[in-house]
């Protein structure tokens, strides 16, 4: 249907047909890898090698390879853990919450964003596991009776809640992502020419035929999974924030943490989605599917969550003063003007000031500006986690134990290495999986694209309603 709404811009531009969508998305799966992709993969593999070497050093020589000391017992490891988990949140938010809100603009970006979630959670999980020092005993966090008898894990501990939260989040996100991939794998299977590709995508597509009954169940499953994933997203970062909030360290022991961490997670996640999508659309020629409209919508989410984060910083400061607790007051003065002032002000600049530029429509719709700001937000959110963790720990109640933290080369290696791991996984995903959810984009094509369809008048006269409203009414019955 031709796009008629005067308020909303088309979500798919360029007058695409259903077949064009299949062609455009399958092209990069079917074509030989291009040079740019191979070059990017090579860089990512260097990062992966750094990761493996740093992990080897950590495991062979122990956690002493890290810059941790008696006072600062958590530093880059937990900073990176919280940062990566936060980045993961945008994927589930886009696929679950925006699905429940019937936001059609999610369809072009949800696939890549969900992949980002999976890979970010894998990167995140590396840190607590490595921090255990003996990852081969990681199964001790499960409620299994240990070798000494029936002593159980401590269900009162937020660190154990994390185990359940992260593993549930990872597995449910993985299933959600995979369910969405099945119909698209079927499309690739039916187009495949080589025997290996046909075999591989046949297995991956689970014998999907696209029958009406299967679609009906598929939609029910997607909707319920979205309903389950929505509180899950909020719970995961809430629980992560409780790792800090249930302690008695000044600067950590605050009730604002759960909502503040969740907002920060969505903020950093959307920034990472933007960083990735701006590159992906260019590399894979998906400009007609991931349009300026999509970028603008995501930038609006960034303004909202960025402002929430800014309010949270101010509130923390106010409450520290208002509480009248001198330790709490000192913790915050120390954050802003103590030895880690540069981290605090980097955080403030990147997270509070920069995203406010998106109030200007010109900046919101500029790809270059968006890309730069999204990088700033990623950096700012890393500093936020660093500030919370390190500045709170390095000076606690007892001045005699005050210390500074500086990372070792291994600390830096693991962090840079997880970025390599992330991009290795993401690049492999881009090449072998459909980056855009074809089935969902096809489903919104009639109502939200520029395409002119020859059945327009026919359909209108038959149903007596515009197809747009037709789609919506049926949607709500499922």
């Amino acid at each position: 249907m031709q796009h008629v709404s005067p308020i909303r811009e088309p979500l798919v531009t360029g007058g695409k047909t259903y077949h064009d969508i299949t062609e455009d998305v399958c092209r990069q799966v079917e074509a030989k890898p291009n040079v740019r992709w191979a070059a990017a993969l090579a860089v990512a593999l260097v990062g992966l090698a750094i990761f493996l070497y740093s992990v080897y050093r950590t495991l062979w020589y122990g956690i002493g390879e890290w810059g941790l000391n008696k006072t600062v017992g958590w530093a880059w490891d937990i900073t990176n853990f919280v940062w990566w988990v936060g980045i993961g949140h945008a994927g589930t938010l886009i696929s679950a919450i925006l699905l429940l809100f019937r936001q059609k603009w999610r369809t072009s970006i949800n696939r890549a964003a969900e992949a980002m979630t999976i890979f970010a959670v894998i990167c995140a999980a590396m840190f607590p596991v490595l921090h255990m020092g003996r990852p081969w005993l990681a199964y001790w966090v499960l409620p299994l009776p240990n070798t000494f008898g029936s002593l159980w894990v401590n269900f009162n501990s937020p660190l154990l809640w994390d185990v359940f939260a992260i593993s549930t989040y990872f597995s449910v996100s993985l299933v959600f992502w995979y369910i969405g991939l099945i119909p698209d794998f079927a499309t690739i299977r039916d187009r495949a020419t080589g025997p290996i590709a046909r075999r591989a995508y046949s297995i991956l597509s689970m014998g999907w035929t696209g029958s009406a009954k299967a679609w009906s169940r598929y939609e029910t499953v997607s909707l319920i999974l979205a309903g389950l994933a929505t509180p899950l997203v909020l719970s995961v970062h809430t629980i992560v924030s409780m790792d800090f909030a249930t302690s008695v360290i000044p600067g950590w022991h605050t009730t604002i943490f759960p909502p503040y961490f969740v907002a920060g997670a969505i903020f950093s996640g959307f920034a990472m989605v933007l960083t990735l999508m701006i590159i992906t659309r260019k590399v894979f020629f998906l400009e007609h599917y991931i349009t300026l409209e999509h970028v603008e919508s995501m930038n609006k989410v960034i303004i909202l969550t960025g402002s929430i984060v800014g309010i949270a910083y101010t509130t923390e400061f106010f409450i520290a003063w208002y509480s009248g607790v001198e330790y709490e007051q000192y913790a915050f003065i120390n954050r802003a003007f103590g030895p880690y002032w540069w981290a605090y002000w980097s955080m403030m600049t990147c997270n509070v000031i920069t995203p406010q530029l998106f109030w200007f429509r010109k900046i919101r719709r500029s790809l270059t500006a968006t890309f730069i700001i999204s990088i700033f937000v990623n950096i700012g959110m890393w500093f936020e986690r660093f500030v919370i963790i390190v500045t709170s720990l390095h000076r606690d109640y007892l001045p005699s134990s005050w210390a500074m933290f500086s990372p070792t080369i291994i600390d830096i290696g693991i962090y840079v290495g997880t970025i390599g791991l992330f991009f290795t996984l993401f690049l492999l995903f881009c090449k072998y999986f459909p980056v855009v959810n074809m089935a969902e984009v096809k489903a919104i094509l009639k109502s939200s694209s520029e395409v002119k369809h020859h059945h327009t008048s026919h359909a209108k006269s038959m149903h007596g309603t515009a197809p747009e409203s037709n789609t919506n009414t049926h949607h709500s019955n499922e």
């Binding site: 259903y18 409620p143 499309t187 075999r199 999907w208 009406a212 009906s216 169940r217 059945h455 037709n470």
Partner: protein, 174 residues
């Protein structure tokens, strides 16, 4: 046993919905409809009943809740009671996060596994797709042909008159 099908190919979802209604009104039983994406409103015209998967999800979730609560209460309250942070053995508020996570986990996995079973989805290399274009850009309506009963030319006309761009025949070896 071989089964024979007549396939009506459509290229527009609204035409398809109209056609399904008319074909069913003409007394012809539709075997199945295949589409590249979920067509909204097709459940009503095809007479597909609402899925009971939400009920499955609910009961799996309920199992998750009860299992998680039982596990934590039994482990920390009865099997090996310990005082941690001055809290009672059965400190329900502290058990909520794990209970919530297991509820979601069981509901999601229970529902998805049921979905795979009832939709007969499993990793396999042999797939019977009636018309490969149905995963690309065409909508395919399949009608089973009963030897000696089905009037082929009437069926052909019925489909063509309702907007089918092609009518094909296909034999499937069962």
């Amino acid at each position: 046993m071989n089964k024979k099908f007549v396939l009506g190919i459509y290229d527009d979802e609204d035409v398809l919905l109209e056609a399904i209604e008319n074909v069913r009104a003409a007394g012809t039983k539709i075997y199945d409809v295949f589409s590249p994406y979920p067509v909204h409103g097709i459940d009503d015209v095809l007479g597909i009943k609402r899925s009971r998967l939400p009920i499955v999800a609910f009961f799996c979730g309920l199992f998750g809740t009860s299992f998680a609560l039982w596990m934590q209460i039994w482990m920390l309250g009865f099997d090996w009671p310990m005082i941690i942070g001055g809290k009672p053995h059965i400190s329900l508020p502290a058990f909520i996060p794990v209970t919530f996570e297991l509820t979601v986990l069981c509901a999601a996995f229970g529902m998805v596994i049921t979905f795979f079973i009832v939709s007969r989805l499993k990793p396999s290399t042999k797939v019977n797709v009636f018309d490969k274009r149905s995963t690309d850009d065409k909508f395919v309506m399949a009608i089973e042909v009963k030897e000696g009963v089905t009037d082929m030319s009437a069926l052909n006309n019925l489909l063509r008159n309702n907007g089918a761009i092609e009518v094909n025949e296909k034999e499937v070896i069962k």
